[in-house]
């Protein structure tokens, strides 16, 4: 392996440090109206077997026809992953029997995937970025769903998902901690959402991860890996890696060896358990699907798709740093969701961008998170937040009052400027009025005045008193200056 983790990422075992090596296969459901090879709806939900065509049910004589929209989405995603787009790829049949697999084979891409090697920049923390290699991306059909709990003696099959297009995105084994793996999935999801090729909804199963985990002593060759199937949240991915790494370290430190196998993560018990061993692995008898011609397109087709791609998160982040002078971390936070980045830019337009960024990140995101809302459903529009930022910049209100104002707009709505007028929230900039308050505070606290002269940090206490007297509306800077002058500090 090329990369070795920083020692801080090692896991302490009884016999010393261990390094965990992680690779991932992400199954991302392609956003498209119709399934990969049939005209049936790819919509989530619906009554069981509502979205099933003759092709999805594998009726005799039915043939698959590729849905071009899914091909475009795969190419767009490949471009987003800075990956090689293969102008010729081949669909293969992966043969196995299961009741929710009507054809008796899954149409997938085995030897010749539509997308080859690429890379993803992953922000692990405000200060750490890593590069994760992409091995390939291929298109394949999803299976249906078996329901075993509707009857004591029978199983039921729902084919609504049968034939829905998936992109399998295979990473290189480039991650070295649960944290890196979580950050990778998070970044991948961001890219997919920007491109609009997958909604990234893990609860609905639009994004699922198979996680390959192995451990080794730092510097050693790769250990034997186990594959943890179908982990369906970013939190569980982190947990699964941690417990699996611990399990493998435990076995190795007890002198045992790791068996290559497929395992399942049980979040309620916090453990992984064996699903099937290598010996039980299927022989899928892959061969090129004779019903489908090789998938071929030319470079201009790819170029046209590339030209229509939106600005992707890394480019946007760089632009935010450059154009708005934002700190890299703030820029990174703002570009996590395209809608949030757009919201920020609308808020910042023609205004103090750093101030706008602070308000978007701290007040807005904080409040949205607390309420479990996304930017699109924010009660405070970018226009309203922009108006609040204006009021602060123009010294009409103080930062503290602005927080109250934000709260009013959040709960009651309304135009921030009108609210400030109507409710008398404007800060006092009339020096006469402020001076009167300053004089009153000085007069009432002669002992503190002496102390302040000896210890200038006492100034803060005076500022607080004045603000209290003015109901928080005095311009803090004017108060400060007057106090300094009058106290002679």
């Amino acid at each position: 392996m090329a990369t070795q983790a920083a020692p801080t990422k090692f896991i302490k075992g009884a016999t010393g440090d261990w390094e965990v090596v992680i690779g991932m296969e992400i199954h991302a459901q392609v956003t498209s109206n119709a399934k990969l090879f049939s005209g049936a709806s790819a919509e989530f939900g619906g009554a069981p077997n509502d979205h099933v065509s003759l092709v999805d049910a594998a009726m005799p004589g039915m043939l698959p026809v590729i849905n071009e929209e899914c091909v475009k989405q795969a190419i767009r995603t490949g471009l987003g992953l800075e990956a090689k787009i293969n102008l010729r790829s081949v669909f293969d049949r992966k043969n196995y029997f299961y009741p929710d697999l009507p054809q008796g084979y899954q149409i997938s891409q085995y030897k010749y995937p539509i997308v080859g090697e690429g890379e993803v920049i992953v922000d692990v923390s405000p200060t750490e970025r890593i590069m994760v290699g992409i091995e390939r991306l291929h298109l394949e059909q999803d299976a249906g769903k078996s329901l075993h709990d509707l009857s004591a003696t029978e199983s039921h099959v729902d084919l609504n998902r049968s034939g829905v297009a998936l992109m399998e995105i295979v990473s290189k084994p480039d991650m070295r901690s649960a944290e890196e793996a979580r950050a990778y999935v998070s970044k991948l999801r961001t890219i997919l959402r920007y491109i609009g090729s997958c909604d990234g909804n893990m609860e609905q199963g639009s994004l699922r991860a198979d996680v390959n985990v192995s451990v080794r002593k730092p510097g050693d060759p790769l250990g034997t890996r186990c594959e943890i199937k179908n982990v369906n949240s970013i939190r569980f991915i982190g947990q699964a890696i941690e417990v699996e790494a611990r399990r493998q370290i435990g076995i190795l430190e007890d002198g045992g060896s790791i068996e290559q196998e497929t395992r399942l993560f049980d979040p309620s018990k916090g453990e992984t358990r064996s699903m099937r061993s290598k010996e039980e692995a299927h022989d899928y008898r892959y061969f090129p699907d004779p019903d489908l011609l090789p998938l071929e397109f030319d470079q201009p087709y790819v170029d046209a798709l590339k030209a229509q791609l939106p600005e992707l998160p890394d480019a946007k982040r760089a632009r935010f740093i450059e154009q708005y002078g934002l700190p890299p971390y703030d820029a990174g936070v703002l570009v996590m969701e395209r809608a949030a980045a757009d919201y920020f830019e609308e808020t910042a337009k023609g205004r103090d961008a750093k101030l706008a960024a602070n308000w978007v990140i701290n007040e807005l995101f904080g409040r949205l998170n607390k309420e479990g809302l996304d930017v699109a459903s924010s009660p405070v529009s970018s226009k309203a937040l922009g108006a609040i930022v204006d009021l602060i910049s123009q010294s009409v209100i103080s930062g503290k009052i602005a927080k109250d104002l934000f709260e009013i707009v959040w709960t009651e709505g309304g135009d921030p400027k009108e609210i400030v007028e109507a409710r008398g929230m404007k800060q006092v900039t009339d020096t006469g009025a402020i001076e009167a308050a300053v004089d009153a505070v000085i007069a009432a606290n002669p002992d503190k005045v002496d102390q302040a002269k000896a210890k200038p940090t006492m100034l803060g206490w005076f500022v607080g008193q004045v603000m209290k007297q003015t109901g928080g509306k005095a311009n803090p800077q004017a108060v400060n200056e007057l106090l300094k002058h009058k106290l002679g500090v």
Binding site: N95, P102, G104, R285, L293
Partner: protein, 496 residues
Amino acid sequence: MSDPTHLSLAEARDALKSKKLSAVELTQAHIGAIEKSRALNCFITETPELALAQARESDARIARGEARPLEGLPLGIKDLYCTKGVRTTAASRILDDFTPTYESTVSANLLGDGAVTLGKLNLDEFAMGSSNETSAFGPVVSPWRRAGDPDAKIVPGGSSGGSSAAVAAHLCLGATATDTGGSIRQPAAFTGAVGVKPTYGRCSRWGIVAFASSLDQAGPITRTVRDAAIMLKSMAGHDPKDTTSVDALVPDYEAAVGASVKGRRIGVPKEYRIDGMSAEIAALWDRGAAWLKDAGAEIVEISLPHTRYALPTYYIIAPAEASSNLARYDGVRYGRREQGRDVIDMYEKTRAAGFGPEVRRRIMIGTYVLSAGYYDAYYVRAQKVRSLIKRDFDEAFASGVDAVLTPATPSTAFAQGEKGAADPVEMYLNDVFTVTVNMAGLPGVAVPGGLAANGLPLSLQLIGKPFDEETLFSLAAAIEAAAPKIEFPQPWWREG
């Protein structure tokens, strides 16, 4: 008018057009013939009421002057084609009483052109066989009998044996068939009929039960070359539902029938002169070349060096695809289901009870050649050989040859039980002259060349360039004109 079932499809069309005959009369005559011919076991499902309803509609259209190209012409449909509302079996128990809610593109094309459909024709189970003996609905008996041997039941060939026998016995004017390794041409040859396997991609495969997807192709079996041309014109065409169907103009094939073959270069491949070829077949081949030469064509010897690998290669590729194509018959959604302890047990019992021995054998072969460790040695190598076989033909055509002439089969038809009982390869050898054409995706025609000493028909095969069926029709018509006319058997089999 004499028995209308003895009209050719073209003659019947003209008789309907000139109102000498009604579609209902024509249909009724065929229904009557079918009812008296059940001893041949040609049909799995007869649809007389449907046929008469279609015929009445045709008569109404003819009366209104709105006749379509096949208006009122009664045809049989191989029971591998899915037909809306009519049971479709593929001659297998596993489909049980499966009744499609959809119509295959090719049969829909025929219906759209006004054809009347008499029912579903028997075949080898899932089109796997060369004698129609593997049908779960019993073997089809050929209307032909060996000279001096009236008791032997002669096979009509396979897999489209119901189609060939029904056409030869005058139970329909023409029939649809399918050809994966010879399943149109060999049964046509065995029954003195004309069989056309078009270029791969010429006809849509949508709605036809798949055997081996990269080889399967629909085509007609008829009593004359002209009839085949008429039928294929209606059957062919691009279908967006089949990615492998080709968007190419479908010419007026009938116009090619009778066209001059003067100056055409006909290749005679030396590799087809196989060991043990009977003198009778060799003589037939020579006669065929002579007939074409007399018609103005030029005969040249050519070499197709990879011919001898075609049959073994075919018996890797076709079963491999079949093993996967037949996985869907699992008892879960339609067709037969045997109860089992669990799902695996249900699969095993269902498929054991549903598939006959030949189908099971091919699924086993196909599963084996695709399995890990054998895939490269068998499937991948077979695909390489397949491209060499195709290249042989490409080179022959590039050298200026317009078509290739070979015998259609290595022998005349045999009797039930005579071949393949002990060694299935004996049966597979029937396809030795035909499989190359499927492997290369080319069009091929079987056309009768006369009778053998045993009184059974002998046929020649013409192989053409991709999408050049027209040349084949003109050459086949030249042979048909020169060869002794085939007199189809008198109906010895009729009841009552």
